[in-house]
């Protein structure tokens, strides 16, 4: 399988364990507990599950912010393990992340220009002219006006801030984008703007997404395949259509049943 971009094999991540300095035992939490999957070039893998099911831990392992306690993870044929120096730079050039909280993911003391030029400078070693050029292009791509560059994050709405986060991740032209609940903090109208943008960027740039959300409808709208997680394990996986049309696992069914629906009403009003 030559077009597999991400391959994860029996990933495990534990938290806690050991003892406090008073000698009390800290209980072990198995946040991710033996998760295996793969993602092909250009496809979108959705990850759903209720809070505490290990979605964010998985995301952080995928982008190298957390080291797996056990198991194997490779991106573009290269193992992700103990990244440092040149290796780390090469990895982050290929793999970037968009965070859940648009506001907390931007440094309040930096201008948008500084936020966007930083990764270009460090990861691509680009000179001043190329940095300006790339930043201008990416800003246009995510639909932000050039005059925003000299502003600070607190001057933006949630939707605009999330576009800046998206621009920061895309400015180094990564192959894989891990999105951890990127629209959960946004209003439906703004959420729709960002989702439309994500779809559009994927077709234009041939990006691969791992998209994490607790909103099944959002996952279904954007993803090719889905991974349903519960308590750190995968309970069901498959193409979105199959999984949502005929869920095999009782947990998936209960997740689906829990979604409040406007379906009937909306069917009537949209052509």
């Amino acid at each position: 399988m030559v077009d597999v971009l991400v391959a994860a094999d029996a990933l495990v991540r534990l938290f806690g364990g050991g003892r406090t300095w008073l000698g009390r035992r800290v209980p072990v939490v198995r946040a991710v507990d033996g998760v295996s999957f793969w993602v092909r070039h250009g496809e979108t893998l959705g990850v759903v599950g209720e809070s505490g099911s290990g979605k964010s831990t998985l995301a952080r392992m995928l982008v190298g912010l957390l080291a797996p306690s056990a198991g194997h993870l490779s991106v573009a044929g290269r193992p992700v393990r103990g990244l440092a120096g040149v290796e780390a730079v090469r990895f982050h050039r290929a793999v970037q992340m968009v965070f859940q909280d648009p506001v907390s993911s931007l440094n309040p003391r930096k201008t948008v220009r500084q936020i966007l030029e930083g990764p270009v400078q460090v990861l691509l070693g680009a000179g001043r002219a190329e940095r300006r050029d790339r930043v201008a292009r990416i800003l246009d791509l995510v639909g932000l006006r050039p005059e925003f560059l000299e502003r600070y994050p607190h001057e933006f709405s949630g939707g605009q801030a999330q576009r800046i986060g998206l621009a920061r991740a895309l400015v180094v032209e990564p192959e894989l984008l891990v999105l951890d609940e990127p629209v959960s903090a946004l209003d439906v109208s703004i959420q729709a703007q960002v989702l439309t943008l994500l779809r559009d960027l994927q077709t234009r740039l041939g990006l691969t997404y791992v998209f994490i959300s607790h909103d099944l409808a959002v996952i279904e709208a954007l993803c090719d395949r889905v991974l349903v997680m519960r308590d750190g394990r995968v309970v069901e996986t498959g193409p979105c259509r199959t999984v949502f049309r005929a869920p095999q696992h009782a947990y998936t069914r209960s997740l689906m049943a829990a979604v409040p629906v406007v379906r009937q009403a909306i069917r009537v009003c949209t052509p």
Binding site: E50, S51, V63, G64, L65, A88, V89, H92, V95, M97, F99, Q100, D101, S104, S105, L106, N107, P108, R109, G118, P119, V122, L123, H154, E155, S157, G158, Q160, R168, D187, V188, S189, I190, Q191, A192, Q193, L195, T196, H214, D215, L216, A217, V218, A221, F244, S254, L255, M256, A257, A258, V259, P260, V261, V262, R263, A265, I266, V268, C269, T270
Partner: protein, 646 residues
């Protein structure tokens, strides 16, 4: 939550704000004058401060040769004072800088690296702090030998812990923020993350700590010199001058008094500036928290409030008035010169057993409307300037005395907020908190109230309620905490239950359980429900009527099924088109372009005009009224009927 206006109103610069603080201005003037004179010392026509003139010893102030007199060796006090101030300022500032750099470095590294490094560094700091701190300074100078340099060192060392602790605390709250993760993904080295991501964000803390400690450090240096451990004769600094004058304080009081007064004035000046800076830079004080919130939103009295009810009396509804009838509510926030019209002219009726959903984007005024009902909008900056809220057909809630309002709160009208932690007291077992509400409104015995509390905790589906009642809020999960809050809200069998996004912080499965619970309990108890959410799906599941808000106004209202099936306002239509629907992945999500207008700069005409696909010239010319558009339906759109055919 305070929504950022899309067109930002810039905060005035630090200098502008500092200049509004009169004490800080006074302080800066004093400090600036003293510093200026000290800096100019070499150019001023002063005699050599160390030149002794035994013939002219102990001249009183205002003598012809020496303006401030001379000391016991005949040295000119004015000259010594100015040169001595120079030394004291230099030592105090250097000590502050050294302490700030070392302490902040320790604090930053401890918080960022964490683990054993943090433990080791902070243990060291704790040990420093364990000694009374002047004693420690004395011990250091005693060990190193008396000299100005050693005094400087000692003062720096004893002040390091203040910086280390303050900076570590500030950094800890930052290292978990996602922008630090983002910096790691951008390939930044640890050093660069410390200096370019963390340091600028803790800078205000460092500046505050510096400005509040520099005065003390000058004082402490003076103290050491006074004891003969700092500046060595013949060099003058303020402390050593004071020490010299002490022995002759009876015969020649001016020799000690002059440096003493200067120290006092200087330190007071510096502390005034420091306090001023702290008020400006400390984010906790930024939001106007200095002015304590009042028990009730400021409300314009009925005589002057447009739309107020003529008097307290039976309403025109006759036999069965609605439980809650809000008419033309105007609530605004006055910040500086800006007026944010958070709710303007909101009408809302809630009958017995009704369940009304309120939707709208963030900042559309949903919460403000709900909070206005019981005067819970924070004042300042909030103020209710118009309208009426009739409760149970008789009283206008905007005019009842505070005590009446407090009896209603948590009694006949109860709230459930988005974040249960804001409602719950972290230091009290949850059962006691439920019991307390019950007791306040029903006057039961302790035992009876506790039994009721446990019963309600059971009823809201908390497993092992008797046990859970003894738990503290932090020992429960988010869903469990929200159940406790619901129990508290329902325990007094309210007539009206106002729920503001009670499930937004919860995941879908927990949300579904909580919604079921609210619905069941509402049906059993016959309470009316006002449910605020931005999730249209939740409204479809839970409510019979819906109210759509936009930029502080109601733009559409009616029965849920009808409004969702044939929305009359383009905004409602847009909202519905934005919702991804499970089972229809192909549905194109029609994003509404742009953003709502900032509520401090509302346009004259329709507030939705800039985003509206059907806008025509008339829409922008005059305010668009809310008008009936069908059975029990209203909409605020000139072209409400067009959509029917389009």
């Amino acid at each position: 939550m305070m929504e950022r206006p899309a067109c930002p109103w810039r905060r005035p610069s630090i200098w502008v704000r500092l200049s509004r603080n009169h004490l800080a201005v006074l302080g800066s003037t004093i400090v600036a004058a003293i510093v200026l004179v000290a800096l100019l010392a070499p150019w001023l026509p002063l005699v050599d401060p160390n030149l002794t003139a035994p013939a002219d010893r102990l001249q009183p102030p205002l003598s012809p040769t020496a303006l401030l007199g001379t000391d016991q060796l005949g040295r000119d006090v004015l000259s010594r004072l100015i040169w001595g101030t120079r030394v004291s300022l230099a030592v105090g500032l250097s000590a502050t800088l050294i302490a700030a750099v070392a302490g902040s470095g320790i604090g930053l590294v401890a918080a960022y690296v964490g683990g054993p490094v943090d433990q080791a560094l902070m243990r060291g700091i704790d040990m420093l702090m364990a000694f009374p701190y002047l004693l420690l300074a004395l011990a250091i100078v005693a060990a190193l030998g008396p000299s100005l340099m050693n005094a400087l060192l000692a003062i720096s060392v004893v002040n390091i812990p203040f910086f280390a602790r303050a900076v570590r605390g500030a950094t800890l709250s930052l290292v978990r923020r996602e922008f630090i993760d983002a910096a790691r993904l951008a390939g930044y080295s640890r050093f660069r993350i410390l200096t370019s991501e963390l340091l600028p964000n803790v800078m205000p803390v460092i500046v505050i700590t510096m400005s509040t400690t520099v005065g003390w450090m000058i004082l402490e240096t003076a103290g050491l010199s006074f004891l003969g451990l700092g500046a060595q004769p013949p060099q003058a600094d303020l402390g050593s001058m004071l020490g010299d004058g002490r022995r002759i304080v009876v015969t020649a009081p001016h020799v000690a008094a002059v440096p003493g007064v200067l120290i006092l004035v200087l330190v007071i000046g510096i502390n005034l500036v420091g306090d001023g800076l702290r008020d400006i830079l400390d984010p906790r004080l930024k939001a106007g928290a200095l002015s304590r919130p009042v028990a009730r939103t400021a409300t314009m009295p009925a005589q002057r409030r447009p739309g107020a009810l003529p008097s307290t009396g039976p309403s025109e509804h006759g036999s069965s008035p609605p439980l809650l009838a809000m008419h033309g509510l105007d609530t605004q926030f006055e910040i500086g010169r800006e007026v944010y019209r958070a709710a303007s002219g909101v009408d809302l009726t809630l009958g017995r057993g009704d369940s009304l959903g309120v939707v709208g984007e963030s900042g559309s005024g949903k919460s403000v409307t709900a909070l206005s009902v019981l005067g819970l909008v924070p004042t300042p900056p909030g103020r209710i300037t118009g309208g009426s809220i009739r409760f149970d057909g008789t009283i206008d809630l905007l005019d009842v005395p505070l005590s009446g309002l407090q009896d209603l709160r948590g009694g006949r009208i109860a709230y459930i907020f988005q974040d249960p932690l804001t409602t719950l007291n972290p230091l009290m077992p949850v059962g006691e908190q439920v019991a307390e509400t019950v007791q306040r409104h029903q006057g039961l015995s302790n035992r009876g109230a506790w039994a009721q509390a446990v019963e309600w905790l059971d009823r809201v589906g908390l497993r092992a309620p008797a046990e859970k009642a003894r738990a503290f809020p932090h020992e429960l999960s988010g869903g469990q905490r929200q159940r406790v809050v619901i129990a508290m809200a329902l325990a007094n069998r309210p007539d009206v239950l106002i729920a503001d996004e009670p499930t937004t912080a919860l995941d879908v499965t927990t949300q579904a359980r909580i919604l079921d619970l609210v619905n069941d309990l509402r049906r059993q108890s016959g309470a009316a429900l006002l449910f605020i959410t931005h999730d249209l799906g939740v409204i479809a599941t839970l409510c019979t009527r819906v109210l759509v808000m936009y930029a502080g106004q109601v733009v559409e209202s009616g029965p849920v099924a009808a409004v969702f099936a044939t929305p009359r306002h383009p905004y409602t239509r847009g909202l519905l088109a934005c919702v991804p629907v499970l089972g229809q992945p192909e549905r194109a999500l029609d994003a509404i372009p742009g953003l709502p207008p900032p509520v401090n700069r509302l346009p004259r005409g329709c507030a939705f005009a800039d985003r509206c696909p059907s806008v025509v010239a008339a829409c922008r010319q005059a305010p668009v009224p809310l008008r009936p558009v069908g059975p029990a339906r209203t909409a605020r759109c000139l072209r409400a009927e067009d959509g029917l055919h389009g």
